[in-house]
């Protein structure tokens, strides 16, 4: 059972859950959690292909870069949420509609 298909199915399930969180959640921090789930799914895919597909370590290096980008993105996103909270006194994404005419 431990083959490439199993891991791809797990990561597809994680990806779908992350997309669902991004689309349905109102709080911006929950949306960020959905993004993290999607990034984890992508990393899992890379590592699975590194083990079963190509047979070299390039996939693991790509997963490492995904982690770095996820860390940078989380820091900047939370700084933006803090500003949003300061301006609008809410962290809900549908309240940030100043550009909407």
């Amino acid at each position: 059972m431990n083959n490439l298909t199993t891991y791809l199915a797990i990561s597809a399930a994680l990806f779908i859950l992350g997309v669902l969180a991004m689309m349905t959640r109102k709080n911006a921090v929950s949306v960020l959690m959905g993004v993290e789930l999607v990034l984890n799914a992508a990393g899992l895919n890379f590592v699975a292909f590194s083990r079963y597909g190509a047979g070299n370590l390039n996939g693991q290096a790509a997963a490492l870069f995904i982690m770095i980008v996820a860390a940078a993105e989380a820091a900047v996103a939370l700084a933006i949420f803090l500003n949003l909270y300061r301006l609008k006194a809410t962290a809900e994404v549908n309240k940030a509609d100043s550009l909407k005419w």
Binding site: M1, N2, L4, T5, Y7, L8, A9, I10, A12, A13, L14, F15, I16, L17, G18, L20, A21, M23, T24, R25, K26, N27, V29, S30, L32, M33, G34, E36, L37, N40, L44, V47, A48, S50, R51, Y52, G53, G55, N56, L57, Q60, A61, L64, F65, M67, I68, A70, A71, A72, A74, A75, V76, L78, A79, I80, L82, N83, Y85, E92, N94
Partner: protein
């Protein structure tokens, strides 16, 4: 022994997916944040099963130690903390199902109909080879990533800082 390995594997898969579902569907955002902890640990365990020892350790250090702490700080800083029951409403719940179901059907159809190759990399320590790879083939992306981290560090501090007396 092989059977035990399989049972533990499926326990970890169940832990990962169940806690990811808690992240997506729980009404209270603190519960979601703590469920995300178990998702990250589950993914780290799957990395161990995929013979990626260095990545499993980095997953625990970076995601659990860094990103999750940051997310929990974010929850507390953007909510009025009178109670831990910070609710999180959902919106567009039914219309979101359409693209998600389409995406899921497409992904699983692709996964189960594609004939994947079956080259299996042997189980061996990866840290040394990964380090060599980062300083040879991936040297430029490595440097760009360090610049990205520096820029994100400065940018996040600049954005999150409170300036007294200005509207900035």
């Amino acid at each position: 022994m092989e059977l035990l390995k399989q049972i533990v594997f499926f326990l970890f898969v169940a832990l990962t997916l169940a806690s990811a579902m808690v992240v997506v569907f729980h009404k209270r955002i603190i519960y979601s944040a703590f469920a995300l902890l178990f998702t990250f640990f589950g993914v780290a365990a799957l990395y161990v099963y995929l013979a990626a020892d260095f990545l499993a350790a980095s997953q625990v250090l970076i995601y659990v130690g860094g990103i999750l702490t940051l997310i929990i700080f974010g929850v507390f800083l953007t909510a009025r903390i009178t109670t831990l029951e910070i609710p999180d409403e959902t919106h567009q719940r039914y219309i979101a199902l359409i693209p998600v179901v389409l995406l899921g059907v497409g992904l699983f159809w692709m996964i189960y109909t594609t004939p994947w190759g079956s080259v299996v990399r042997p189980v061996e320590p990866t840290t040394k080879d990964l380090g060599k790879l980062l300083l040879t083939d991936y040297l430029v992306p490595f440097e760009v990533a360090s610049m990205l981290l520096l820029a994100a560090l400065i940018g996040a501090m600049r954005l999150a800082r409170f300036y007294k007396g200005t509207d900035d």
